[in-house]
């Protein structure tokens, strides 16, 4: 599958050696984009880039480090001659009650899920603005979550971090509008990933329901990695040229209903 809207776009996806990030990287590459895959797992990132084939790059990058993030963005710009699309995907979860969450755990999650988005956005803005000035439809897509839209027990730090990402995206969208850089967030519900499966026992214990039943009742079914990647591909393409400062949910209705 190729899309006119993604053909030739120069993209960087953080946390892309596995899970949603890897699905996004595959979708963008399938649409004709050149993709830089960065991940704290450098070997994994390089292996994934090799899997995509020539023209893509893999980079080690811990989003907790400004210097590593800057270096990864610079390497992408060097490799591709510019940057049109940044996907801030790197993220982690903690699944336990707030009162049992240690300060260092909470701080580490925020450092990755929130501060990491800030670091990469800041590092990439000049390149994205330069691409826009040259006629590209530049964009940042931040992977938030429906956990940023509504509360979810056992996910205090995660929910707070994803709500922060949504609001951060709005401000970036307004500030960067004149520079031609669009900024949006994507909010998936429970996708069948290892991260969600790690949360399942705790959520089941808290709600008194089998986790699979919670998913079936609240969102119909699990979403798929590919469905997340489709929304990212849409927002990251010129099809969404007037969409900025928005957050797009894909959640089977979990955030759209009251009960």
């Amino acid at each position: 599958m190729s899309d006119l809207e993604l053909e030739g776009r120069r993209a960087h996806v953080t946390g892309a050696a596995s899970g949603i990030g890897w699905a996004i990287a595959q979708r963008l590459a399938a649409g004709g984009a050149r993709v830089a895959i960065s991940d704290v797992d450098e070997e994994g990132a390089k292996a994934r880039a090799a899997e995509l084939g020539s023209g893509h790059v893999g980079l080690g990058c811990d989003v907790r480090s400004m210097s590593e993030v800057s270096a990864a963005i610079d390497a992408t710009v060097d490799a591709f001659g510019g940057l049109d699309l940044l996907v801030n995907n790197a993220g982690v979860e903690i699944g336990k009650p707030m009162v049992d969450t240690e300060e260092d755990e909470f701080m580490t999650l925020m450092d990755i899920n929130v501060n990491g988005v800030y670091r990469a956005s800041r590092a990439a803005t000049a390149a994205l603005a330069a691409a826009a000035a040259a006629g590209s439809d530049s964009a940042i897509v931040n992977i938030a979550s429906v956990a940023g839209v509504g509360g979810c027990p056992l996910l205090s730090a995660y929910c707070a971090s994803k709500a922060a990402v949504i609001r951060f995206s709005e401000v970036c969208a307004i500030e960067l509008r004149e520079a031609g850089v669009r900024v949006n967030a994507v909010c998936p519900a429970f996708i069948d990933t290892p991260m969600v499966q790690r949360l399942a026992p705790a959520v089941a214990a808290m709600t008194g329901m089998e986790f699979g039943d919670v998913v079936a009742v609240k969102q119909g079914r699990y979403g798929t990695l590919e469905e997340v990647a489709e929304v990212v591909a849409f927002l990251g393409s010129s099809e969404a040229a007037w969409t900025t400062g928005s957050h797009y949910v894909l959640d089977g209705g979990i955030s759209g209903g009251l009960l």
Binding site: S169, V171, D251, G256
Partner: protein, 260 residues
């Protein structure tokens, strides 16, 4: 390349002009068989002829339950089913809420809310009978915030968004998805005649802003286009958006994101 809506049967209300016509045009280009409906029979016939191919036109007033039921029934009878319905028909009047007559209020809400109700409920019923489908409501960012001088329009759009969400949840197990699109200001015939009125009501001159167009440039970068709404309506109607339901999708150049 295969279209994104290949083989789908799509009904679009209020399709003689504006966003409805842009959606119908894009859907047809993506491989869908489109049925355009409008209260203005001559105009919608011309619009369908302009699209060409398998596009066809039907005349219907969305405020009439009898006519909407007949419209959906006719689409199903002619094409063997219904996969996509876009509740787009809408009107606006510009006047303060205080002092508005109930008749004026209902003139707008009957089209923009009752009409959406009738379109969604009849279309969803037909879709459920044939294994599912996608409903798209063309709402507005005015659904999400106080909107001076267009109270009836904004309130009806808010109602339409909420109704869309509720139908999405009620119909989830029947394979019917339903989503609302909330555009910011597009330079359509709904907006064009009222720019001076808005500018005066907002006190733009006192703020040193020359006119409504300049205000729009500040708040949402530029006017959006009907084609941009059609692109989002295509995504949401397509199988690519299979996990998107009961959602509210803004495209507004950042208008709603800012408090200022």
């Amino acid at each position: 390349m295969a279209g994104k809506l290949e083989g789908k049967i799509a009904l679009i209300t209020g399709a003689a002009q504006g966003i409805g016509l842009a959606v119908a045009t894009r859907y047809a280009a993506e491989g869908a068989t489109v049925v355009l409906s409008d209260i203005d029979g001559d105009a919608v016939q011309a619009a369908a002829e302009g699209i060409g191919g398998s596009a066809s036109a039907m005349t219907a007033d969305v405020t009439s339950e009898e006519q909407v039921a007949a419209l959906v029934g006719e689409v199903v009878a002619q094409h063997g089913g219904l996969d996509i319905a876009v509740a787009n028909a809408g009107i606006a009047t510009v006047q303060p809420a205080v002092g508005m007559s109930l008749a004026d209020w209902r003139k707008v809400t009957s089209v923009n809310l009752d009409g959406v109700f009738l379109t969604l409920t009849h279309a969803a019923g037909a879709m459920a009978a044939s294994g599912g489908g996608a409903l798209v409501t063309i709402a507005s960012v005015t659904a999400q915030a106080g909107s001076p001088l267009i109270s009836s329009y904004a309130a009806a759009k808010a109602g339409a968004v909420n109704l869309t969400r509720t139908i999405a949840i009620e119909m989830r197990d029947h394979g019917v998805r339903a989503n609302a699109i909330c555009p910011g200001f597009i330079d359509t015939e709904l907006v064009k005649p009222h720019k001076k009125t808005f500018a005066d009501a907002l006190g733009l001159e006192a703020m040193g802003i020359p006119d409504f167009d300049a205000f729009i440039a500040m708040k949402q970068g530029r006017y959006g286009t009907e084609e941009e709404v059609a692109a989002l309506a295509t995504f949401l109607a397509s199988d690519r958006a299979g996990f998107c339901t009961a959602g509210e999708y803004n495209l507004d150049g950042g208008l709603r994101a800012s408090l200022l």
